[in-house]
Symmetry: C2
Subunit: 581 residues, 2 copies
């Protein structure tokens, strides 16, 4: 399973092979484009690991284990050193409590970038259909190894097994395919050839035209540690599908998922007759801050960043030679006004604030609840009662350690743990629902905690400062507000000042819903209304939901609107007199 670079075919395929590849993936890409038009539910990548055959799980685990404790080879040019395997040397440590022991090649950009640039013309000249098919083939090969990818996600980002298989593997693949389909649609919007005939006086001016998509240059993907593939694939595949070579700079804590990705991409490119250097990995030494130096190089014409809003802003400020797409931090607000299904709402809320220990960028942080309480199908509930009942719902969901470990995730590092400690110690406000440590059955060293719910009051200035700060991790706030109007004003302020990727509402009142819809349009954040059952505010359905809006400080990249792909290439026309093309 874990193919080494030695198995890469160096023999370019003939044109017939590429034609067959295009034919093979064409229905898939067409189907994806249909889903993107209708926004219906669809995915080619099964969410259930059992769909991958009886051997898949064991084979994936063996493949993952085979990666541990040894050098990871990529076959890239310009190797000038090694990163890892010890954490002090840049090696990764699983949030579940062990060192991966993998070392990676470090490469010299002065060798790597020219090699990537040299690979561009043939890739550009292959055209959008071939590029889309090769990208789909890369994703197909990644998909076949989803168990291995899920384990890589678990032991770098601390995901629980279900989240790792979903967000770490198949949903990331969906985000990649979505970008490929969008890029293909956009690059084929103009006809490759056209005839322009204009009656002029007694004759016809006859001009033959060609329109050729041309990439911008080399694309840099600066990845994060929480969702390196889910946040990394959109930019990687949007750029690659539009003809740009892609250099992936992984987060030092989560190299493996992208190293696997880059290796599979390189193998696929070589197998299909292209230079593997169209996709390269830039692993950094501890303290190297490679993103800062790479992003401002003149060869880099596109940057996709996911990470802190502050570094995204730095990139926009400094990487002026490039188009910069950013996905940053968010403080997400959920307004609890009223409900016709109190128990289901509480269960949904409890799961939403627990999933991956609140480390999703779409996790709700601030639950705004009228201080006078809410009306429900079980009668009026006071603010305190709602918070207590939420605590009870959290208890039901998380009281068993095994169950809890399946919903939560391992905390990503000391910064997250310290935030929980601070909240738990009552430093932020009254602890309405305390956090508890969860013992993982297989990984006793993992730091896993249930969410702490702190009660705040929007009328208090100190509390407002607290809720206007991002508390990534299992920390959420039940915030007493005077009225719906105050809740909406606070949501607007939070979104404008801190950025937001999700907003939520529970209300049976159409007027309140209308007002909330209007505010979310004004400040630019996606709204989820009265979610119940097993669909949650933090989830984003690929091919259907847009991730982010580009309208607030949480970033300017939207997965995947047209703007995300349209500027990654340009079109060069040729006009020939007489109609020849």
């Amino acid at each position: 399973m874990a193919r080494t670079p030695q198995s890469v075919s160096a023999t370019p395929t003939d044109g017939g092979d590429l034609t067959r590849l295009v034919t093979r993936h064409q229905p898939l890409l067409e189907r994806a484009r249909t889903a993107l038009r209708t926004r219906e539910h669809w995915s080619p990548y099964p969410e259930d690991p059992r769909a991958y055959g009886p051997e898949a799980e064991a084979a994936g685990e063996a493949a993952f284990r085979a990666l541990l404790g040894r050098p990871f080879e990529l076959g890239q040019p310009g190797r000038d050193g090694t990163v890892g395997p010890a954490p002090a040397e840049g090696g990764e440590r699983s949030p579940y409590g062990f060192e991966l022991g993998i070392s990676y090649p470090h490469t010299d950009p002065d060798t790597l970038l020219p090699a990537m640039a040299a690979a561009l013309p043939a890739w550009r000249d292959a055209g959008p259909e071939v590029r889309a098919a090769v990208c789909a083939e890369i994703l197909h090969r990644i998909n076949a190894r989803s168990v291995e990818f899920a384990l890589a996600a678990t032991h770098t980002s601390g995901h629980n097994p279900v989240m790792a298989f979903h967000a770490g593997a198949v949903h990331a693949q969906d985000r990649g395919l979505e970008a490929v389909a969008m890029a293909l649609a956009e690059q084929t919007r103009l006809p490759a050839r056209a005839r322009w005939r204009k009656p002029q006086g007694d004759h016809v001016v006859d001009i033959g035209k060609t329109f050729t998509p041309v990439p911008l240059g080399i694309s840099l993907v600066v990845a994060n540690s929480v969702f390196p593939t889910w946040n990394g694939y959109p930019g990687l595949f949007a750029s690659l599908a539009t003809g740009n070579p892609v250099l992936v700079k992984p987060h030092p804590a989560a190299v493996l998922p992208l190293a696997l990705t880059v290796r599979i991409a390189r193998e696929t490119l070589a197998d299909t007759g292209f230079s593997p250097d169209l996709v390269c990995l830039a692993v950094e030494r501890p303290g190297e801050e490679a993103a800062r130096t790479l992003a401002v190089r003149p060869e880099i014409r596109l940057v996709d960043h996911s990470g802190t809003t502050a570094f995204g802003a730095w990139l926009v400020e400094h990487a002026r030679q490039a188009r910069v797409f950013t996905s940053g931090s968010a403080v997400n607000t959920l307004v609890v006004h009223s409900t016709g299904d109190y128990r289901d709402m509480l269960a949904n809320l409890a799961f939403s604030v627990s999933l991956y220990s609140g480390q999703l960028c779409t996790s709700p942080q601030n639950l705004l609840i009228p201080r006078a309480g809410i009306s429900t199908d079980e009668g009026h509930k006071s603010f305190e009662q709602v918070v207590a009942d939420l605590g009870e719902a959290l208890g039901t969901l998380l009281s068993d350690d095994n169950d809890a470990a399946a919903v939560l995730g391992a905390l990503l590092g000391p910064a997250v743990s310290e935030r929980v400690d601070l909240a738990q110690a009552g430093k932020l406000g009254h602890v309405a629902v305390p956090s508890r440590a969860v013992h993982h059955p297989d990984h006793p060293e993992a730091d896993i905690r249930t969410p702490v719910v702190v009660a705040l009051d929007a009328a208090r200035e100190a509390d407002r400062a607290t809720l206007l700060t991002e508390w990534l991790g299992p920390v959420c706030f039940a915030v007493a507000v005077d009225s719906v109007d105050e809740a909406l004003a606070l949501l607007a302020r939070t979104t404008r000042e801190c950025g937001a990727l999700s907003a939520g509402l529970y209300s049976t009142d159409r007027e309140v819903e209308r007002a909330m819809v209007a505010v979310c349009a004004d400040v630019g954040v996606m709204l989820s209304v009265n979610l119940m059952g097993d669909w949650y505010i933090s989830q984003s359905a690929v091919y259907s939901d847009l991730h982010a809006t580009g309208l607030n400080p949480a970033g300017n990249a939207v997965y995947c609107d047209t703007d995300f792909v349209a500027g990654r290439f340009r079109t060069v026309g040729v006009r020939r007199y007489g109609g020849a093309v």
Copy 2:
């Protein structure tokens, strides 16, 4: 014809009127979208003034004359002074030799911008179809007054009558409608409502979704003096159609065409029940440099600039709160290698360098010709012979003053005249074809000159410095090159360093053509091959040709690719559990 603001209806139309407006313009917009897909020839706006009826010319002239010598009213809020009518006070002077005598209101942005922002929500909520229909109605009303617009273009930008009616009126309207159609297509790419049903275990998750286009904010159009409408309408209509109020900052020398545009837009908006303040004009006092202060205001979220590359770069550097689209300067290269139709080539070249006295941003400046000469259907022609024959073709085209005045244009100002004087004096190189002053039959004061052709040698460093500079106006260079390879290298360097909007080739050699196509793809410039008859390198067919590529320093705005419209709005989704929308 010249309606004053008093005739603007202040009564909002009812919904039925808007429905009828959408129905009326829907076939036009659909037809435009078809042309944009096929890139075939099409336009709804006749190029022949006679198509507008027997009265149109006289009525248009009367309307234009009625504008002269009096205040131009707009009915905008925040008036705090007057610009013009005297040139010293900011009034316009026709390049054909007289003062327009028009004064304009000066407005306070601190009043104007809030009024524009207040107009946004209703315009946003009207939706893309209504906005497109209102924009089409604005263009329809502008089109009906094309004679008046052509005269306004003639007496601000110095166009000849045909160019004024085309580039100053109907082709500018085409560029506007193109942007409206692109914006409509892009805003309706997502369904307004969708249903998402996902089988999950034993049930189906059912989510109703809405997707709403949301504008970014106020859009600023910084217009130029040569083609204020042709270069201004794409940004104006792309922004307005995507929901953004638009503030138009005209060039001080060419206010009238955009003042007329803004007044008609305001009338149309009021007539259709919207705030006229969705479109406003910011006329500046002499020396005010209003673009610098307006472009960096926080309310401004989009800037469209056409003008010098240097000021475009300033805007990109400073207007960081906005998305900035630039259309800058260009140095365009045409390679003359060989031809099968020598006489037609010379006639085409002569017209191309003469049209509007070379003041088009797409005019060819550097004609690269092998020093060993070229092969033609009339046998081998030496470098000197080609240049002499071009001079003869120019003579044939321009020897009659009346004919010459119909092809050339009035020089825009002393800077252009001085460039011609410098070239004519032999300061740039050997004058191969001298310029001559043309006497305009009706406007003896107009400064009209035929092109001067200067012979340069690519082997001389001083000559390279000359040809790597923009010489806007009737100055072109016949440049001796050693080989096709040197010509292509020089074209590449010129395009990369100076920017280019057009490239041309005359060659009967398929290998040379292939090499030229490859270089133009590499450096990003549209190529015209072997143009003959009455279609010229400097022409851009709206709905078919993309203007600019965004790949070289001539600007990042492309009329009209998807990137030009896709980033002017964002989409806000709402998800409702249970499938309701």
